[in-house]
Amino acid sequence: MSDFKMQIQTSASRLLPLLAVALISLLTATTWAAVPGITGQTFNLTAQQSYVTQPDGAAVYSWGYGCATGANVAAPSFLPFPGFCNPMQVPGPTLIVNEGDTVVVTLTNNLPAAAGNTSILFPGFQVSTTDPSNSAVQTGVQGLLTREAASGGGTVTYTFIANKPGTHSYYSGTQSDLQVEMGLYGAVVVLPKNVAGCSNSKGEYSLAVAAYDDLVGATSTVNPSCYDREYLFQFAEMDPRIHTQAEAIATCAAGPGVICPTTMQTVATEPYHPTYFLINGRSMPDDMDANYAPEYPAQPYNGNPHMHPGDLTLVRVIGTGRWQHPFHEHGNHVRVLARDGNLLLSASDSTKLAGPLLFTTTTTPGQALDGIFYWTGKGLNWDIYGHKPGDGSVCIPDANGYYTADSGALNYYEWCADHDKPLETHPYGSVGSGGPATLPDANILADGAWYGGSPYLGPDATANAVGTSPIPPAGTVVNSPTTEAGYAFMWHSHNEREITTNDIFPGGMLMMMLVDPPVFHINEAQ
């Protein structure tokens, strides 16, 4: 641990405790994301109570969907790698289905009695609540927005045809201001059927090669939603006072002089005062831990994106809860593909995209957004690998200007127009000596935990840097220049008070996206 202390001594002292926690948690479980979930056509879910944990040590009483267990219930199948599906989790299990599937979701209400009925809405789909084996019989009991699973183990079955590829949200349609706040929400990912328009092969941890079906035009078939890797981020805020009140009712023991409420109607959901700001149910730095990390039995999904230069990265973003969150992706713009599974296409040419380019993809409650992000370092006017003329490095531009001829090269996908233009050719002190820039004495700067000690990317970054020795020494940082050697970018809510955990900075809706050098293998299942 002495290494950590050396690394973080330059940070503001009041941030030390949490940053140390962040570093420790990262080191013990360096891991990445993808879109993990359960797959099939029949899902047996339960709604139950449990606790979610937060990085300030809080265990917050919550409700969540999870996988039902029992003699007659098949174990869930996982994609894209094995995991667990406990009876309660926040968000609920991500349901991964294929376009055209008839999806049958049976929900059992195992919430405490006072919670009353519960349900699931699947916006965007035509949902039937009849018994799949007898269409004359309705399942569940009638609620306001849909049929509901009655309190005390009641069940309801929702059946719909997954006819819309893309990312969709699901959430409780019963006393939603309380039940969604308590954690009853999740995602449906529908994989497209026709993806011949893509030339890429399916990514190692991708669910598909494209987010949407091919677009058939008059002269050609194209698919603008092809991708190399993907992530799903569900944004929600949480007001722990609501949870405390709900827990008090749920655990109320009637006795002499004590009359317990029989419903949750007395839980005050206003005024709303959230203090936790969650991505996939976790606050930073917990979101950087592994998917299915054992320390989060009720929060299996993380938020920890990684990519290589040039990777087309599908970003699936869902807003939950009540508030909008301006989710800012450092590093580049995002092309918005679709909202709620509806591709945004040109009115004059239905094979062309019409979604905006955004550097801040604002989340909206109940809305799912799909977008494509990539990063290449194009146009910086300096060589991100620090190559110098005559060093033997190669960058032969393809038709788009990138070096793609050798997929095994250290600088695969380099922007060749900037090749051999190192940021500085002479060390500190020689202003304008063949730059474009000259860096200051490294000793006057404070280094971040994800900073490799030089401006450059890749395993040669340290060797290609000039001037004073890069600090901190190799091996002491999260993103070590001797191992990962990536570029780190913060992806976070830009309503900045939301990157806190119960008044502690850093925390909340914050993650670090790593652009890793091409030769670094990104093992999302790790």
Partner: protein, 537 residues
């Protein structure tokens, strides 16, 4: 002044003594020429990329020649301080800031203009004003000298100028496509909070394909200690309305005022007279860096427009006079404007600012803005174009609002009014960004329709080339978002290429204001807040 030095010196000494190995850590960087711009200055026009070579100096041996495209542009420089200071709210309350202040282009900034300069001007001494803010004499004072707004690079002069000189918003930065920007941040320390030892950084928000090194996120890069300088280097990105801010403890440093604006003007402004802007955009496809081919690049920023139909060299919208300005490389002239106005939306929580000045623990979840700001001012200060002009400073008129800081000296800390002035028939480009850290903010226009032409520094155009501009009377932004709006005071126009106005809106006073009525307040005052005027003459 004396008081501030008593607090400051130990801080500086401790920091410098423990941290640096070299003699001087304040260091301003602005090369007169670079490999990309061997002459340093701008070429006059852009008709298309000019293929050529640039020279790269190796460590040893002779220069290497690398193929490159010359699209014009210039070396531009700007210097800012990171520190603290004060501003005055519209109800008269003096408010403590963490903020950036100008260390170059001082007169430009105080005039509400961008402080960005050509290297030649930047590297001249600062000759305006006999004294620095703290009363120390300016040894370079030379009334009447041309280009008086050069950078302040002397260590003592940096402290004389930068201490307690935070601006709200931060110094305005404006560059052109193909420029190289050398942006130096010097951390002069926060005199009122010597306990913090706070670093600062610059995050160029929205810079495409950013390097993490110059992205300003302290966790992913370097942060600048008190007593140090760092020069951020950017090749200008695609045209658009961006913004910048410190990225240290963002909920704190942004709430406290470390927010500013940066915009990039398109090379279409440099298309020579008589050439169609469409043709120039076609020609631009010859340089892959600036090309926008949607069939190959899903992040293509400016596809060729479906209009104009006339693709001949003289067809389309002809760039004619020096007054023709465009927001984007639209290729069809649709983003032309007569005047541009940067407008940054923000909010201040007076409790947080008080706590921020007084060494108390800060609550983030409880943050509640009560001052709602356009360019750091609330109505009616937003339309105060004269300010409380301090005649002891400089020689030119200024719209800046001055506030006395804790050493008794006045600082032009709120330099930007938001008074929009148009002649009948003219078009205003509103470059609107929001860096509020707590909630979404709406800005509405009464009377003049808002045409939204771009979101997040990108033209609203589908990949087939159709403009997707839309008319509205209100826009809503969260923190970290920007958009561009055209206010057109003409209701009917003649045909291209002149689009002469045939029906003008009546003269008079129009308003931009927020329909979030609780944001029309200055703390306890129930009238003011997020509002300004559009005056049509």
């Amino acid at each position: 002044m004396r008081k501030s030095h008593h607090i400051w010196l130990p801080v500086l000494l401790v920091c410098v003594g423990t941290a640096i190995a070299s003699a001087q850590s304040f260091k301003v960087q602005c090369p007169a020429k670079t490999s990309l711009h061997p002459s340093g200055t701008a070429s006059a026009s852009f008709a298309g990329p000019v293929q050529g070579t640039i020279s790269i100096h190796p460590d040893f041996g002779s220069d290497f020649q690398l193929a490159s495209n010359d699209n014009g542009g210039a070396v531009k420089c700007q210097e800012v301080s990171g520190g603290d200071g004060y501003a005055t709210m519209a109800d008269g309350t003096q408010t403590y800031l963490f903020g950036f202040g100008p260390l170059s282009g001082l007169g430009l900034i105080a005039n509400g203009q961008p402080g960005t300069q050509l290297a030649d001007d930047f590297n001249k001494p600062y000759t305006d004003g006999p004294n620095f803010f703290n009363g120390q004499p300016n040894p370079n004072y030379d009334p009447g000298a041309p280009n008086p707004n050069g950078a302040i690079t002397d260590v003592a002069a940096i402290m004389h100028t930068g201490v307690m000189n935070a601006n709200m918003p931060a110094p305005l930065i404006a560059i052109d496509e193909d420029d190289e920007l050398f942006l130096t941040l010097t951390n002069v320390g926060m005199i009122m909070r010597p306990d913090l030892f706070e670093q600062h950084t610059i995050h160029f928000h929205g810079y495409p394909n950013a390097s993490s090194f110059y992205d300003g996120v302290p966790d992913a890069s370097v942060a600048i200690n008190i007593g140090g300088s760092f020069t951020y280097y950017y090749l200008a990105p695609d045209a658009g309305t961006y913004f910048w801010h410190c990225h240290i403890t963002p909920p704190e440093h942004l709430q406290m005022g470390m927010v500013g604006q940066i915009y990039v003007r398109p090379r279409q402004n440099r298309v020579p007279s008589g050439m169609s802007v469409y043709q120039a955009l076609v020609n631009a496809q010859g340089d892959l860096r600036i090309a926008s081919n949607c069939s190959k690049d899903i992040l293509c920023s400016t596809p060729l427009p479906v209009m104009p139909i006339d693709n001949s060299p003289s067809g389309g919208y002809v760039s004619g006079t020096a007054t023709k300005m465009y927001a984007y490389n639209d290729g069809d002239g649709s983003t032309r404007y007569d005047h541009e106005y940067p407008i940054q939306i923000h909010g201040f929580d007076p409790n947080f600012h008080f706590v921020g000045m007084t060494f108390n623990p800060e609550g983030f979840a409880d943050m509640k803005d009560k001052y709602f700001l356009l360019n750091g001012r609330s109505y009616p200060d937003t339309v105060n174009f004269q300010g409380n002009w301090d005649t002891s400073y400089g020689t030119s008129a200024t719209p800046a609002l001055y506030t006395q800081v804790s050493d008794g000296t006045n600082h032009p800390s709120q330099p930007l009014p938001t008074l929009i002035q148009l002649k009948q028939g003219e078009r205003a480009l509103l470059r609107i960004s929001d860096l509020d850290v707590t909630e979404f903010q709406t800005l509405a226009s009464v009377g003049i329709p808002m045409q939204v032409i771009a979101l997040n520094a990108r033209l609203l155009r589908d990949e087939a080339g159709n403009n997707m501009y839309y008319n509205t009377n209100s826009i809503t932004l969260g923190g970290g978002e920007s958009l561009d709006v055209i206010l057109d005071t003409c209701t009917a126009r003649g045909p291209a290429p002149d689009y002469a106005c045939t029906t003008k809106m009546p003269t008079g006073k129009y308003f931009l204001y927020t329909p979030q009525l609780d944001h029309l307040s200055n703390d306890a005052e129930n009238f003011g807040g997020l509002m300004t005027e559009v005056v049509v003459n």
